[in-house]
């Protein structure tokens, strides 16, 4: 590390510049725009080289766990659980939702005589029929907050007391996978900033908004110069900046290889009619996730987001649209993974900061609620209904659904049973078991 210099013009360079004892990366061919000297300088820039990182990563993984992958889908804004997993024979539903309940019950896709999936979840219903969907009902936590941001933070950190600052997946990265900084172990697809669930100061991860545009204009010359520029940057943000550039460069190299060898085996489309357009291109994000998974980049924890679930008004059309969009993207994703022979490795899980108020409001929508169901999808799950559907008559003091399953029970099963990580260490405690996995890792090891 070198000290920042307060310089007068002309600038004095440190003698240390460009002499880097890390392994060199030979990507620079002819960086002449920035002068011949910069070539040597840039060549000194080395994150961990691709092959090197992967070898270390493989060694690290050996004996630790498995090659399972987790994909978390955030339904941002508070997904209406009652419109996702619909009670089919509950007379109270109509009283609570005179405007919203009619078509949602009559059109629902029955799972049994009590519950049905939203009528736009056809592909997910198809997976249910094959035993590949587990639904955990009544998921929440004690003393729920109705603030989006407080509740998002609780779900992201896995801590209803709000003391924890790192994300539950970030902590998993840091403790189980990340000591060698493989940048693709954790990846947020379709985003520009790091999702809170993946955030941890000790974790390296990648954020890719759009694979098609993820790269430096100007190619390797610019990449080399920028690599040289962002090294040993002083100040409180210095390491964050340097890591971001090193991670980006490393990921670009990986994506060049993976993009060349990946052929999508399903039709992904973001051209879905929504009442208003979504910020998040869910299908594109999941297609990138599929590419990273099937080309063996070493990705373990992926996070994607679909926004728009804060349905305070005209919920009828908006929520149905969102369900349809979710369904088509998840359906294509599963099909793609299956066609590549990877679906047995991948667990898909939805999460949302809260459900919605059982009673509808005057805007044809619903306000912030509490307990809601989570969907767990993929070959690793043992299909069926878990947890307990909340009562529509015995509501809590705020008129909301009471939870039956702590959300950390679901995290625990994912961490321990699917990823083979130490869930007690990561979550700080043990929770009741929700055995939605077909063959939990802990049971087979």
């Amino acid at each position: 590390m070198t000290k920042a210099i307060n310089m007068a013009f002309p600038y004095r360079a440190s003698a240390q510049i460009g002499i880097n004892k890390l392994k060199r990366r030979d990507f620079l061919r002819a960086g002449l725009v920035f002068g011949a000297g910069a070539t040597g300088l840039a060549a000194g820039y080395a994150a961990v080289p691709d092959a090197f990182a992967r070898a270390v990563y493989a060694a690290k993984l050996e004996g630790l766990t498995n090659d399972n992958v987790l994909v978390m889908i955030q339904l941002a804004g508070g997904n209406d659980g009652l419109r996702t997993v619909v009670p089919l024979a509950n007379p109270s539903l109509h009283d609570l939702r005179p405007k919203l309940s009619g078509p949602m019950v009559s059109q629902a896709l029955p799972l049994n005589d009590q519950f049905g999936l939203n009528h736009n979840l056809g592909a997910i219903k198809g997976l249910w029929d094959k035993g590949k969907v587990a639904i955990v009902q009544g998921v929440g936590y004690p003393n729920p907050t109705f603030s989006h941001f407080e509740s998002i933070r609780i779900w992201e950190t896995g801590d209803p007391t709000r003391r924890q600052v790192d994300g539950w997946l970030g902590r998993t990265l840091a403790s189980a996978y990340d000591s060698n900084g493989h940048p693709l172990t954790g990846c947020a697809c379709g985003a520009t900033d790091v999702p809170g669930a993946l955030r941890d100061l000790q974790a390296t991860l990648t954020v890719i908004q759009d694979q098609k545009t993820f790269g430096f204009t100007g190619g390797s010359e610019v990449e080399a110069a920028v690599g040289a520029l962002y090294k040993g940057t002083p100040g409180i943000y210095g390491a964050l900046f340097d890591t971001a550039i090193a991670t980006a460069t490393e990921t670009m190299a990986t994506l060049r290889t993976s993009a060349a060898s990946y052929q999508p085996m399903a039709a992904y489309t973001d051209k879905v009619q929504l009442v208003y357009s979504s910020k998040n291109q869910l299908a594109a994000a999941l297609q990138l996730a599929a590419e990273l998974i099937v080309t063996g980049t070493g990705v373990k924890l992926l996070h994607v987001t679909l926004g728009g679930f804060d349905t305070h008004y005209t919920e009828l059309n908006r929520h149905d649209d969102l369900m349809g969009y979710l369904d088509s993207a998840v359906g294509a994703f599963y099909q793609d993974l299956a066609a590549h022979g990877m679906s047995d490795k991948v667990l898909i899980a939805t999460w949302s900061e809260f459900g919605r108020r059982p009673k509808e409001n005057a805007s044809g929508g619903t306000d912030h609620g509490a307990a809601a169901p989570l969907l767990l999808i993929g070959d690793p799950v043992k299909g069926g209904l878990y947890g307990e559907a909340p009562s529509l008559t015995s509501l809590d003091a705020t008129g909301n659904l009471k939870y039956a399953v702590d959300f950390r029970s679901v995290y625990q099963e994912i961490l321990g049973g699917h990823l083979g990580a130490d869930s007690t260490k990561i979550l700080g405690a043990s929770f009741d078991s929700v055995p939605f996995l077909k063959a939990p890792v802990s049971a087979t090891v």
Binding site: M7, F9, Y11, R12, F146, L229, Y237
Partner: protein
């Protein structure tokens, strides 16, 4: 005043410290200690101490803020989206105090009217509003008003997707600018009755009979008091008290073909106006809100919020985080909050207190803020003397995480370290390439750029690359793409 370095700031050689620290440790230590990193700051001149490895972060920038010229440059970076050479010269010749006076006392300048606003239903591309605003930011003689407008756009935020009427979005921008440096009490009434806001947070469809809680909650949680300062009952009760507002009546209606033969009757507005209150939709009766019971109207809700000490602290804390330092300490925030509350929530008083506080220009606050994407791009355009970049800027914000009128959610944009990810840094660099490629003719000389744009405080890497750059294009690229230029 000139930009010549004062004697004690003349270059020191780079010194090796903490060789043993890893990248990861540095990252953890730097962020864990936050602004406390000042405690291990390596100040120029204290050469002896540099030889001793220290705990904590590796290195920090050497603050140049002992010199007035550096203080003036920082002031403009934090309040005015940077500066053109002319703007900088003028501020340097005025000095710091006079520049603060000018910033605070200059009234906002209205942008030229946007012709598209009369489009039926506000059905025109949001890109037109984005470009219109950016053109004004680049051209205005009163950039502080634009900086404050952007601050309020992130605070009292609305999203064009849900508002679904770009005329309302355009109006909101006009209103936020006009009120940007006024009084929080009148601002909150304008925010509550703003048509885009009425739609964005659903107050326009709330009734006393069946209240919609969206606006009621966010008014307290995000706009004024912050979480944990009110109860769920308060949310329900103020939802009742606030119900009754509706969108304003249009001047006329027009039948418009929207898609393959489908026609719709859409509102046309020729003049801007706020929402209207419909007493028939209001709640009749008493509410118990923030500890008091009785009849309550919208002004009553606002006044009760302003009676809570949490409100001044919440606004002052957010301002400090955006203008002074990423993690302002509680004592500083309290000082600002007290000033704000005593002034009856006058924004000029608050902002003057912020800009003239020792904390604003202290060495500890140097480069502790990350420029937002809009900040960064506008500053780059000013530095290059480019006036034709509004379209490029409007389009480039998305990959860096900031699309104007399209915040990620109702809390607006996160700031500082949240602006840094593998995606955003690449996009920042790509913007520099795009901006340079848009410059018609010769680039301005870059020989002064590191001193004028980066205070002459450079990392060894930046200094070395600048020394080796062969032409102005390369020097501008290094300057604008450098980590130094991302900070303010």
């Amino acid at each position: 005043m000139s930009l010549a370095p004062s004697p004690e700031k003349v270059p020191s050689a780079s010194v090796q410290v903490r060789r043993g620290i890893t990248r990861r440790q540095a990252l953890a230590a730097a962020l864990a200690t936050g602004v406390g990193v000042g405690a291990v700051r390596l100040l120029g001149g204290s050469m002896q101490s540099l030889a001793t490895p220290r705990a904590g972060s590796g290195t920090d920038w050497v603050s140049p803020l002992g010199s007035e010229s550096a203080r003036v440059m920082q002031l403009l970076r934090r309040t005015s989206f940077g500066y053109t050479p002319v703007q900088l010269e003028s501020a340097l010749s005025d000095g710091f105090s006079k520049t603060v006076d000018r910033l605070i006392e200059t009234n906002p300048v209205e942008p030229p009217a946007l012709g598209a606003a009369a489009t039926p239903g506000g059905r025109f591309a949001v890109g037109q509003v984005q470009q219109w605003w950016l053109d004004h930011i680049l051209a205005t003689p009163a950039p502080f008003a634009e900086r404050m407008t952007l601050f309020w756009h992130g605070h009292f935020t609305s999203d064009y997707r849900k508002v679904a009427d770009d005329t309302f979005i355009y109006w909101q921008n006009l209103t936020w600018r006009r009120m940007s440096m006024t009084n929080l009490r009148s601002m909150l009434m304008q925010v509550t009755t703003d048509p885009a806001m009425l739609r964005y947070l659903d107050l326009a469809t709330s009734t006393g009979q069946s209240p919609n809680e969206n606006y009621s909650r966010e008014l307290m949680e995000l706009f004024t008091m912050g979480p944990d300062n009110y109860t769920e009952d308060d949310v329900r009760e103020s939802a009742k008290a606030l119900a009754g507002w509706q969108l304003p009546q249009p001047d006329s209606n027009a039948t418009v073909t929207v898609a393959n033969g489908v026609t719709r009757n859409l509102p046309v507005y020729s003049t801007q106006r706020p929402g209207v209150f419909n007493t028939r939709r209001a709640f009749k009766g008493n509410v118990t809100y923030l500890g008091k019971t009785g009849p309550l109207d919208t002004q009553g809700v606002i006044d009760r919020i302003l009676a809570q000490p949490a409100t001044a602290a919440f606004i002052a804390g957010k301002v400090a985080q955006h203008f002074v330092t990423a993690q302002p300490d509680a004592g500083y925030v309290k000082t600002l909050a007290d000033v704000f509350r005593r002034s009856n929530y006058d924004m000029k008083t608050l902002m003057r207190a912020v800009l003239t506080s020792p904390e604003f220009s202290s060495a500890q606050s140097y480069r502790t803020l990350v420029k937002s994407p809009t900040d960064f791009m506008v500053h780059a355009a000013r530095a290059l003397g480019s006036t034709n970049l509004s379209k490029v800027i409007a389009a480039a914000g998305s990959g860096m995480g900031q699309t104007l009128f399209d915040p990620p959610d109702v809390s607006g944009w996160p700031n500082n370290e949240s602006w840094i990810s593998s995606n955003t840094v690449v996009e920042r660099v790509n913007f520099v390439s795009a901006a340079l490629s848009q410059v018609k003719g010769a680039l301005p000389s870059a020989s002064d750029a590191p001193r004028r744009q980066l205070d002459g405080v450079l990392s060894p890497q930046t200094a070395s690359l600048l020394n080796q750059a062969v032409d102005d294009r390369a020097r501008w690229f290094i300057t604008l793409a450098s980590p130094e230029f991302q900070l303010k």
